[in-house]
């Protein structure tokens, strides 16, 4: 039996990989820009994660892929949609979450989840790139500003402007008109982010507004997007530390379930061995020279009184005298 499982999120603009051990602990994670067609980004993401974990693909027992390129990965044993995986990953990161807003490069989705991270309902953008990372990318280019900086500039907006087009290309025309009318870049960028928030609220409406809400996907790193979505929702967003890897984490958790269930007998044996080993370690503390006093060796009165000096030695001597 192998000791690790892997989740890969082969997205449209980035590739993410998460490696877990069989207890579900994150061993490593990696995000790489791509290269969607060549697959170079996903290869880099996988090798980085393996390197960080200090293992090779041979050590991985199960690999689950997700994202738009999920079917293109030969190393994946199974694939699941990004909706299923983001739900699972987001709830693993924020166990109380009941609604997941995921805004990625090419799509945005709102997912209602149960306490196990399973999808109850979902809605996806079905109108081109409206309300996605691509929408921000197109408009950043139109406004000649770095994508990473646009959120910060948008937060400086003083005036509320409106971009009403559903289409990224037409929105670009609106942005140019607003700038031509003499509006400031922060105000126009504020309107761009408000437009994303309004599309997101539309998706929330289709699924049903509920909380707590967690936001995942690359756009969760954009402070202005978060601010405007919170304002539109009238609710705070919980932001995981690494929102981009939620899908890959979900995929890895599904891989873990699958692998654990396939090897449940061996795992039960291993867990029993671990338990016995721990017990042995514990018991060893009764031998001379050990620093601690095992709780089990004390009566309730002794526990209440605190450890009695020399007690363990006395027991040990008594045992030896009787051998």
């Amino acid at each position: 039996m192998k000791s690790y499982v892997m989740g890969i999120d082969f997205g449209s603009t980035t590739a993410k990989t998460v490696i877990l051990d069989l207890k579900g602990r994150v061993v490593s994670s990696s995000v790489a820009h791509m290269g969607a067609v060549s697959g170079d980004g996903v290869k880099a993401s996988i090798s980085n994660a393996l390197e960080q974990a200090g293992i090779t693909q041979e050590d991985v027992g199960r690999t689950v892929s997700t994202g738009y390129g999920r079917r293109m990965l030969d190393i994946a044993d199974k694939n699941f949609t990004e909706i299923t995986c983001h739900a699972r990953g987001a709830v693993a990161m924020v166990p109380d979450a009941r609604l997941v807003i995921d805004i990625g490069g090419q799509d945005s989705k709102v997912i209602a989840v149960d306490s196990n991270g399973l999808v109850a309902q979902f809605a996806m953008n079905d109108r081109c790139a409206a309300g996605t990372g691509k929408f921000l990318e197109v408009l950043a280019r139109a406004m000649e500003i770095d994508l990473e900086k646009m959120g910060g500039v948008a937060l400086e907006a003083k005036e509320e402007l409106k971009i009403s087009s559903m289409c990224a290309t037409f929105a670009e025309t609106e942005v140019i008109s607003l700038l031509a009318e003499g509006n400031t870049k922060p105000n126009v960028l504020g309107a761009v982010h408000a437009a994303i928030a309004s599309r997101t609220l539309g998706l929330v409406g289709r699924v049903g507004k509920k909380g707590p809400v967690v936001m995942t996907g690359g756009v969760a790193k954009n402070q202005a997007a978060v601010h405007y979505i919170e304002k539109a929702l009238g609710m705070p967003l919980i932001l995981p530390e690494t929102p981009q890897i939620a899908g890959a984490l979900g995929a890895a958790l599904i891989a873990l379930d699958d692998y654990r269930s396939e090897h449940k007998d061996e795992l039960a044996e291993m867990e029993e061995d671990d338990r016995l080993e721990a017990q042995m370690e514990f018991d060893k503390s009764c031998v001379p020279g050990c620093k601690g006093v095992p709780e089990l060796a004390l009566t309730e009165q002794e526990k209440a009184a605190g450890p009695a000096k020399g007690k363990v030695r006395t027991i040990w001597e008594a045992v030896q005298n009787n051998l």
Partner: protein, 401 residues
């Protein structure tokens, strides 16, 4: 044009014909309906009567010796039709008008239609203007199905329709001819219903697209020829049982006028579903109900019209003792379907208005369903695939729970 139907029916001995060859004939007619009509016309010298969905009694036109044909949405992009119908009309009506504007309906001698929805009425007017030399016969069907006068009104409508057709063709349609056509149509419906039963039980493996080819070609082809092919098909599939297909059993619902696009149906099955039932017009809705073979033929058609709404309820009809959502839930139970995909054509008003009731009933019962809005223009299949796969993942999980 050489039709596959002719090749198979005339050139090959019956025992040599296999399932795929007959399906290819059905597909050929289903994909080129107007070419089929032209070839039939060239062969027989008869007249072709086109009709719009969904309660047109083809039996009357057949009894008059014509080829009744349900007119089909084309896969071509809308071109000249844009100048005649606004984009908020559904894909079916826009495609019909576009075909008329491009003079593709010249093969038709007459077109008949009933007032099933406002968009169909607008479409018929636009077509009438484009084809001034084509006879257009309009018939009105009562939409209130429970009134004491419903039956009488339906009889009147079909009488008017029959009279107008007789006038156009210049000859009377006898009761005997009507009875004969009714038998032929019933035989066709019965065979297709049997295929539905066989698919449900796993006795025959038919994809959603293959079933669509069978039903759609029945709307187009001469029913006598279609029956002959169906008989060969039934004989073949009964003699050559196949292993039961594996997948998540789903019911397909919606699309009252046009056939769902092939790429959508294929995509749903590629995601791991098998379609075990439907209420599509290009499906069970078309063949759900037979016409009485005895008695007065027009009265039998009126009875058929009324029973049809119980066979598969339609949101364009009003019937207090029938509701579509209960019908769907019951059908799914019989089909052992684990979920339903609703295919809603944009902008089909009757469907849009009724859907909230279906949604509510399904959510109340905890039966998973997914709504997909379909368009005449190409659809973003990759995004749809993600939605369908997620839906199937939800269905699988509920099955496992």
């Amino acid at each position: 044009m050489r039709l596959l139907a002719t090749l198979v029916l005339e050139a090959k001995p019956e025992e040599d014909v296999n399932k795929q060859e007959i399906l290819a004939v059905f597909e050929d007619a289903a994909s080129r309906p107007l070419a089929y009509a032209q070839a039939w016309k060239d062969r027989t010298g008869g007249k072709v009567v086109g009709s719009f969905p969904m309660n047109f009694p083809g039996e009357i036109a057949h009894a008059a010796g014509t080829l009744p044909m349900i007119l089909q949405e084309s896969d071509d992009a809308i071109t000249l039709g844009h100048g005649l119908l606004f984009p908020f009309y559904c894909g079916y009506t826009r495609s019909m008008v576009d075909q008329a504007a491009r003079q593709e309906f010249n093969v038709l001698d007459a077109i008949m239609f009933g007032d099933h929805c406002v968009q169909l009425l607008g479409m018929a007017d636009a077509i009438r203007m484009q084809l001034p030399d084509t006879k257009v016969i309009f018939f009105q069907l009562i939409s209130s199905m429970c009134d004491p006068w419903t039956f009488g009104r339906a009889v009147e409508s079909f009488e008017v329709l029959k009279n107008e057709l007789e006038e156009f063709l210049g000859s009377k349609i006898s009761d005997e001819a009507m009875h004969e056509s009714t038998k032929i149509f019933n035989r066709n419906r019965q065979m297709i219903r049997k295929l539905y039963e066989m698919r449900k039980s796993g006795a025959v493996s038919l994809s959603a697209v293959e079933m669509q080819h069978i039903v759609k070609s029945s709307m187009i082809m001469d029913k006598v020829d279609h029956n002959k092919l169906l008989e060969q098909f039934m004989a073949y599939v009964e003699a050559n049982p196949e292993p039961e297909p594996k997948g998540i059993r789903l019911h397909l619902s919606g699309h009252f006028c046009q056939a769902p696009k092939r790429e959508v149906l294929d995509m749903i099955e590629d995601c791991g579903a098998i379609i075990v039932g439907d209420d599509l017009y290009h499906g069970f809705r078309y063949i759900s109900t037979d016409v009485d073979e005895a008695g007065k033929p027009v009265e039998a058609l009126a009875k058929w019209y009324m029973e049809r709404n119980t066979g598969v309820p339609c949101p364009t009809r009003v019937q207090n003792d029938v509701d579509w959502d209960s019908f769907l839930l019951k059908a799914m139970e019989q089909e052992k379907a684990a979920g339903m995909i609703v295919l809603m054509a944009k902008f089909c008003e009757p469907h849009m208005y009724y859907y909230p009731e279906v949604k509510e009933a399904f959510e109340k019962k905890g039966v998973p369903h997914l709504l997909i809005e379909t368009e005449h223009e190409s659809m973003a299949i990759e995004g749809l695939k993600t939605r369908v796969e997620t839906f199937l993942e939800i269905v699988k999980r509920r099955q496992a729970a």
